[in-house]
Every structure is written in C-alpha cells, then in structure tokens.
Symmetry: C2
Subunit: 353 residues, 2 copies
Amino acid sequence: MNKTTETSFCSRPAALFACGRQSIRLPVPVYIRSSASVVGSREKQGPLGELFDFAGEDDLFGCDTWEDAESSLQRDALHLALQKAGLHSTDIRYLFAGDLLGQSIATSFGLMQYERPLFGLYGACSTCGLSLTLASLAVSGSFADFAACVTSSHFASAEKEFRFPLGYGNQRPLSASWTVTGSGAFILANAPSGHDRAMITGLTPGKIIDYGLRDSMNMGACMAPAAADTIRQHFEDFGTSPDDYDKIVTGDLGKVGQRVLLDLLQTSGIDLGERHMDCGIEIYDCKKQDTHAGGSGCGCSASVLSAFLLKQLSEKKWKRILFVPTGALLSKTSYNEGQSVPGIAHALLLEAI
Amino acid sequence: MNKTTETSFCSRPAALFACGRQSIRLPVPVYIRSSASVVGSREKQGPLGELFDFAGEDDLFGCDTWEDAESSLQRDALHLALQKAGLHSTDIRYLFAGDLLGQSIATSFGLMQYERPLFGLYGACSTCGLSLTLASLAVSGSFADFAACVTSSHFASAEKEFRFPLGYGNQRPLSASWTVTGSGAFILANAPSGHDRAMITGLTPGKIIDYGLRDSMNMGACMAPAAADTIRQHFEDFGTSPDDYDKIVTGDLGKVGQRVLLDLLQTSGIDLGERHMDCGIEIYDCKKQDTHAGGSGCGCSASVLSAFLLKQLSEKKWKRILFVPTGALLSKTSYNEGQSVPGIAHALLLEAI
C-alpha cells in the first residue's frame, strides 16, 4: 500500500470511522496480544502439524460425546491463550465466541466456567472473522481493554449436525471438505505490549451472498461468491489492490471453492494469483490424508491464523494480509426443506507491528 | 438516579468507557430512531394485541414451512422499521440479527435480500438484548451511522427445533412457556432526529449462569439465575438501585421464572417488587389463552419492546427502564446428552429523550 492510497483510505467524514460503502478503518489499531490453537489428530498429521500448540490423540479429548470434546477444545484454547498473554480470565472484559453446532453449544458449555460476559455469535465457518471483527470494535472503540475471541469446530459433531452421524458410514464426494477438529483463541488488547503478534487495522464485514447452490457436499462453491464479494468490496473501500497485500487468505474454500473464487474475481478484473491462500488447503495434505477438497469449519481458519498466519506476521515474513474467513449458512432443516446454501465472508486487515 | 450516583457512574479510567466490572456507559447515547413488530394470531389476541404493527392470520404468513414463515417475520419487521424511519435499506450500515433455530436460518433467509453486511448472533431468547448491545457499540463508537437489529421466534419452528414437532401432540406442563410468534426490528442512529423513540445509554452484557437445571419445559427457572446475576451486577456497576428505574423488564421468565428471580434478588437484599415486569407475562393472558407460564423466545422481548416498552418511553410515561432479555442456552443435542440448560441475560439502560 503506497502513500497515495494510504491517505485516501476513507471517503466518509473522518468523525465516522466508516470507510467506503461497507468497511471500517479502526481509529486505533487492535493488538493481538496472544493466540493459541488446539487441534485433533488428523490436523496434527497435516503440513502445519508442528505449529499447533496442542493436539489430542483420539479426538474425544477424554470426553464422552463429540460435543463435549468440542467444548473442551474451546476451553483449552482460551486457557492457553490467556497463559501466553500472562493474563487471568478476570482480565478479559468480554468474550466473543461461537461454533457450528445448533444453538452454539460448544461455546456455551466450553466457556461458561470462565465466568466472563459472553457475546454469542453465529457466522458458520466465518465465525472466527465475525468474532475478531466485533471484538475489534469493542476494543478499538474503548469499550474494553482486553477481549477474547474463541471459535471451534469438530469433524464428528459437525457431520452429525449437518449431514449424518459417522456411524452411518456416509459416502463423501471429492468436492466435500473435511471439518477441522480444532479451536483457535485470540486475546485482543487496546494498547501495545512490545510482544504482540500482529495488529488489526481494518474491517470489511460481509453480506450474505446466495448463488442458489444446494449441495451440502460442496461448501467451497457455496461460499466462494461471498468471499469474492467481500474481497472486491474491501479493495474498493480501501482503494487497494492485491499487490498491496502479501497474502489474501480465505478461511475454508478448499480446492473447488478456490477455483470459483479466482474465476469470479477475474471477471471483475481482479487477479489474486499467487497471493491467494486458503486455510482449508493449507491444513491438510489432501491427497495423502484423504480429506478431499480441503479443511473447513470455524476451527479451520482460527487454528491456521493462530498457528501459521500470525507466525508469519510476527516474524515479519509478511507485512500485511487480508484474512477472510468464509461461512456457508446451512442447517439440516433448511437443507431438508430444499433451501439453498448462502455464504458469508468477513475480512480483516492484519498488519505486522 | 440522583446527581450523586450520576457522577460516580464509572470507576474505571474515563478513557475507557467501561463502567464497573462488567458494564459500559456509552460515550454518546444511541438513538432508537424507529421500531416495528410483526406477530402471529395468538399474540394479536393477547393484552398487547392492538399495539403490534402487523399480525398474521394463520401463522404461516403465506409460506410453506414454519421456518420460512419466521424468515418472513424478520423481513417484514425490518421493512416496517425502515419505512417508519424514512430510510432505505442501503442507509443501514450493518445488520445485527439472530433467532432461535439451528444455525440461525430464520435470519439468513429472512434478511439476505436487504444486501447489507450482517453480524449473525446467537444468545437464545436474549438475542434482542445481544443485538441491541453490539449495535450500540458500533453506533456509539462511530463505526456506523445507522444500524438495524432484528430478532424473531416462531412457536411452531421452535417446538420442532427444541422439543417435538406440533403434529406429535406433545403434552406441556404448566411450567412450560409458549414461544412467541413474532419479530421486532429496531433502527439505531448516532444522532438525534427529534422524533426518536428512546435512547440507549448503558449496557451490562451478561455471563452464562448455570444452576444445573435440566428441564426444557421450565425455561423460566433456567434463565432466572442469569437475570438475577446481570441485574445485580448492573446495580453495582452503575451505583444504582431499583428505585432509580421506572421498570426493570426481563425478557421471558414467565411466572415461574419471575418468582425465582425475585427470590434470588431478595437474598442479595434487592427488592424489585412492583418495578419488575416480564415481557413473557405481559404478552398473553395466560389463563384465557392457555399459554401456561407465559411467552418466550427472541420474538417475545423484541416485539414487546417495540410495541409497548418504547411506547411508554416515547410518551414519557416512563423515564428510565432496565431492559433485560433472558436466554436459555439449550439445544436438543445437549438436552438429549443430559446436559443442563444454562442461562444468559444482557441488560440495556433505556431512557426517554
């Protein structure tokens, strides 16, 4: 991003931190003080395996049900993130959290023992972006000194929630993605500490975009139009282009969704090319690990952000990335009633400090 | 609230708008520019029937499924609220919305045609409070000029989601509440217009509170401890007592929950007495309408706030109320796995202009 685009960032009155049609340029940066990731065994075996903070051995994490296991992922991820930040849970003013399950039960049962005020969120697999966006408003707006964001997904609880319980031995087409068993937690702060991992400086919350697709086994294609819309809008609002970013990282489009995204943006004259990266593609070696199109779920972008993307930023290998978690707004009820699967994507501008 | 408590509102540094342990005193008030309520036939027949903006005749609202009907409630409520405010949907910078269904599908399919950036929320029946809280942060923090909050519930879609489809003819104990078929929409603005309905000046977001109750047919008792915790914390953070408010209005505790709330607060030396009101008790004539403990659902507090509470504030019959939507964090999965039903409640300080 050069000086010229820097100064022409916002077209609305400066008093309103609104930027362009849909974005926000934060009046003060939000510092990511610490983060943590907890994942399952398959994620541990993937290309990023060594980077995650903790991995379970049997994906039940010592619990009796998949849902309890997912709750334990959130509990452990937040515990680790607090520990790394040297903070106690009472230092966290507000929690922003969610998951993929009906009524977000992984969050309810995972985080209640922290006894902090909770904002419960649902944005399907985009919830990591949703939680970081809303927490950034709270922190940058001086409503909180510290906020924590936690999201998770679990392969087995998600299959039961959206498709079939694993015991049914359901067949999966190659366009299907593999829901990541994992959770990422992030501690956001309103002041720098000298050892923050990165900072959040801009936001482009997304709209629901529905191209009418109805295939719950091809989430990538359902979400790609929303990712394209948010990314395009982000460039317009901030007056930037792909060259201004080291990477543009979507949440969990997988290989099918990536192809759709790149094609859609090409028709708008935007070429992401090598700058595009997708957390779902990075987290597994799809051929060796039989995970088909790639990883997905709220835990996918969250664990990859914590383990890999923030590492690159904190080590200054990258200066600026656009992080775009993507969500498919599907439920088994709407799916069985013949509804389409609309998508949504929220973008965050992350910068090295 | 007298002058003394007014000036000793916040104990944290003024630079942070945090107030006490858990609350926020908004740096600039948020104006409720307009609101609208759409309800079903049973709500129309209740004591507040004449006050709602629109009521359907058969609760399907011309749709094929209960879920589509609930989506139409949200769509219509927002349409009416925009019309009353004299605004177009493109004037609304961000939507904050949710419902009770798995993956919040009433919101996804109800609001996508407005093509506005959406923050999807889940706080069970407290979602009206959650949406108004987060939208207030966005508006008061100068991140948006206009935001809209929309929540809904539908008796038939909720029974299917949480208990049994209506066709099963399930028996209901007297402690059961009746999920309100209804939606409320609110347009929040960052500047006064001279014809706003009320203003939001303070927030006390709530924690999850779990007393271990497991009865999905007694939501009032499950939520009352959370309401008590949030109300007690609000008084402590703002240095106020029940006498400082014309009413303290909970969302949907019903008659059983009201009794529990008043008893719990009594043990902390807080006597709400006649100042307590519950939207779930107000919306139906429970004896005549066979609605047992009272109304419940995200649509309950939202429609009663729009139709009745804001009317009282705008007509200056009340000067200041504490509005406390209450939620039971239940899903059929967690319930069938033997989990408890934790509660959450978010409080908003609403004042006449």
